[in-house]
Symmetry: C2
Subunit: 218 residues, 2 copies
Amino acid sequence: MPPPATPEPIPSVASIVVILAVTDGHLQVLLVHRTDEPEQGKWALPGGRWDGSESLDAAATRKLVEETGITDLYLEQLFTISGLDPARPSVAVAYFALVEASKVRLREEEAWHPGWLPVDALPPLAFDNNTVIEQAAARVGAKLDYTNIAYGLLPEQFTLRELQAVYEAILRRPLDRRNFRKRMLSAGIIEATLEHRRAGAHRPAQLFRFVSREPVIL
Amino acid sequence: MPPPATPEPIPSVASIVVILAVTDGHLQVLLVHRTDEPEQGKWALPGGRWDGSESLDAAATRKLVEETGITDLYLEQLFTISGLDPARPSVAVAYFALVEASKVRLREEEAWHPGWLPVDALPPLAFDNNTVIEQAAARVGAKLDYTNIAYGLLPEQFTLRELQAVYEAILRRPLDRRNFRKRMLSAGIIEATLEHRRAGAHRPAQLFRFVSREPVIL
DNA sequence: CCAAAAGTGTTAAAGCTACACCCATGG
DNA sequence: CCATGGGTGTAGCTTTAACACTTTTGG
């Protein structure tokens, strides 16, 4: 029996990842150039077709490792949108990830030429990727308060000043050093190490670590 | 040319809806009996295959109207999961909705015999629907504090006691009447009407309404 | 006049915000 | 000794939690 003349449209499922990091005081997002139509050549979020051979979460994790080489990461599902591709039924499952910028090795040799762009000064992106990124940034800001997700953005050990810089980059407002220290310590998400970092003509800064580097809600 | 022997697996996209209401002091969820394999005959969340002819949000809204007859509702996307159906690649986009129990007209004549079941005493459901419902209930509880989503659960006018009963059902703990009244009024999400409701041998209760019945984050 | 639910105000504790001075180091 | 950033405490304010008596009505 031949297939019907107009087969039921096959929905396409894609996963896309908003990869965020903080460098030089600004929240940055990893974007790539689209190599295919539609919107060829524009900046877009990395992602790809889902083939069902792994879970959606696994697909997003794999995408992230491919783009950045990073394995110690925070990854969370954002939402799912339909209709990105006007040509056919499609859904895209969006994730966001927080990574430590210094650990990332971008794959420059690839055709899509990845790059970091500051979240608060993005050019128009392919599809509605701008709003996806905005929502990811908003979610990160909201969770910063009552979770330890910042661990994804920082190395094993860090100074309080570095931690504060990350918070300020995401929240986009300055914080009081003394109150910040008190809140972080009393919340119990970080703890002091015995080490200090000497850096310039001033008192050395104590190094801290996250009590847990697993996702935790306080 | 014949189709290839093993065609690329076609992912199936479904939307499912966690429909919540409060009756007699308990949070209840609308469930239906599955009419098909797998898991035939078990209680499950209402939902269905997405054919791409409308947006995912529209599909969820339509499902909800079909099940309950309700149009004034609060609907929000929860998350997307893959692998519910072990037989083939599948994703399910889960939504949750808050409805006013008294307005719902269940479609008893349907084969799947819908019914309300209390969220805190559910039997094992098809697939992992139990955890989906738990997450929906947790999300509602978290948003209750800083949004007006409770409007979906109550009629146009209501007494403070009725509002408090809804909060207590969702939060699963008793609240202080005086503090509750103060918080609700000072948060500005409800306002007094000029009407009162006489109900029994006691002082009549003032009726209130939500300042806005659109979803609002405070 | 009695029972039943509605309405109301105060006080103590905790948490948050704002703010200024001393400390350790390198040059 | 000086410039630089690191480290610390307190006072006022706001927010939250606990708590008991009076009011209005129907029977």
